[in-house]
């Protein structure tokens, strides 16, 4: 929490006034903290969902096809 507050203060003090490029998120203090936190959870959750419901298979998945060898 303390880190978040420090970064928001830094963000407001340093970055806000000097941003070269203006994007919709440039006005949200601490945007990249939030983005980092949520992005990480989204990647973990998204990958797990994709994996469990679709893509992850047993390690012998392809070997089953090669029984004729």
């Amino acid at each position: 929490m303390a880190t978040l507050i420090i970064f928001i203060i830094l963000d407001v003090l340093v970055v806000m006034g000097h941003a070269h490029f203006v994007f919709p998120w440039s006005h949200i203090p601490g945007f990249f903290s939030l983005f980092g936190f949520l992005g990480c959870l989204v990647i973990i959750g998204g990958a797990k969902l994709l994996g469990h419901f679709w893509l992850q298979r047993g390690e012998d998945y392809y070997d089953k096809d090669n029984e004729h060898e």
Binding site: P24, F35, G39, I44
Partner: protein, 583 residues
Amino acid sequence: MSNFPLAIIYIIGAVLLPVLPRQIRSAFFLIVSALAFFILINLETGASLTFPFLNYELMACRVDRLSLAFGYVFVIMGFLGGVYGYHVKESLQQVAAMLYVGSSLGVVFAGDLFTLIFFWEIMAISSLFLIWARRTQEARKAGFRYLLVHAFGGSALMAGILLHLQQTGSLLFTHFDGGVASYLILLSFALNAAVPPLNGWLPDAYPEGTVTGSVFLSAFTTKVAVYALARGFAGLELLMWLGAFMAVYGVVFAFLANDGRRLLSYHIISQVGYMVCGVGIGTAVAVNGATAHAFAHILYKGLLFMGMGTVLYATGRNRMTELGGLFKKMWPTLIFFMVGAFSISGVPLFSGFVSKSMVIYGAEMEHLGAIVLLLSLASIGTFLSIGLKLPYFTWFSTDRGVKTQPVPPGMYIGMGLTAALCIAIGVYPALLYNLLPFEVHYQPYTASHLIESMQLLIFTGLAFWLVMKKLHAEATITLDTDWFYRRPSRLAFNVFSVSICELFGAIERLSLHLVRYLVRVGGNPAGYAVEVTRNAGHILLRTEKPAREPLDFSPDRYRIPLGFMVLVVLLVLVVLLAWDFLF
């Protein structure tokens, strides 16, 4: 000194190496690399080596700032790989690695498309032997798949080049302007850059290479493709979107991987995504960013593969589910690995920080908000998997009491040198920026950039720490686009092999039946006729067919007696004589 194609040095080296005594082969590898570096720094910009071939003018050595930047990092990485693999005494691997480095340089300095495809194909074949040299069943199979995919890519390239030649009459390798020919060439470049959906071969084959082989593999093929894309297709918007998609795609699949080197392979796809995206944006800043990122990436990804390769060498294992608690036994490797991990994650003072941000800066300059967010999301995933998850499950987590064997000093020296370069570039970015194709007006160490990066990294770490207890590596494999040629292979095997065998079998059986029939008919026509008539009689009259021939059956039972044939012959003779006598 006039220009000399660097590839020749390596090819001569590869020919000489097997005839040298075993003890000096590794040193010879380093000498050749050093010689190549000496020639490289003396190359003259713009100068080119042209010679006629058939009706065309070929340009085997074209030097400009773009090819030089890639040339430098390839020669350096070849040398570092040689140091890391100093203990390897197997000439197959050394020759393959030398040809692989040489042909990659051949492509980078190729001024025309014939030279390009010549080295392009050597690159595919020589890299294949770095996989097969592992000598396991999995490596053999993955190698064959790798070969087939790259043979397909090479054919697309050849077809594209021939069409391009027919349409434009020029073989010069410059920017392509669209049309079928350039799409074919784009297809083969994208295949080598592992752009989804053409990415399946990379995470399939790279984890199966030898300990040192995969260090080389991680560096060259994809980055040669990035160079080729930057030369031929800079500014193609499609590449920008594909690249950003690819960066996230690699990260998601990497998170699901269990094999450490497969996880790193997916991050090659992700990192190459930044470069492809930079090339697609196509401005001077973005192409600079793509080149810088390729340069930094080759070094830190080589370092990461060295780290996981060392773990594989020492323990014989590479799966996170089989590793853990190596910290006490292998802490020096962890330190080197973490330098690579901090570099790829873009931690300030490490090389990724000064290169990755250039690509993102290029996107910011063009006001491409979506691209900026996608690339930042990929950064998060990179730090999550390589900076946190992989080292956690390999060096900490549950101690599985894995036995380790001592690691040769060359591997540590190789990792140390590579790590030093990663830090040097991060601390003093001008080292890298001076090599880039366009003049650099970018300053990575600004307060706002530092604050944004630190926020991203720290809060990614926080999220990981919160869910860490629930995470565990899973002993599974993940389906990827290689499914499309691996799974239907059984069907293809049935169609092209089993069914054809069965067709031949059927024809063989049919002809054997025919022969048996002809033997029966020809051997005893009268007997056969009697039998057929009798059977027909039985069928027509619906009477019981005799179950079996009587026990005293003899095949001669219905055979015409020999005397009868003699009589026929004599009668014919008499008729002929009478004919002759009368007329």
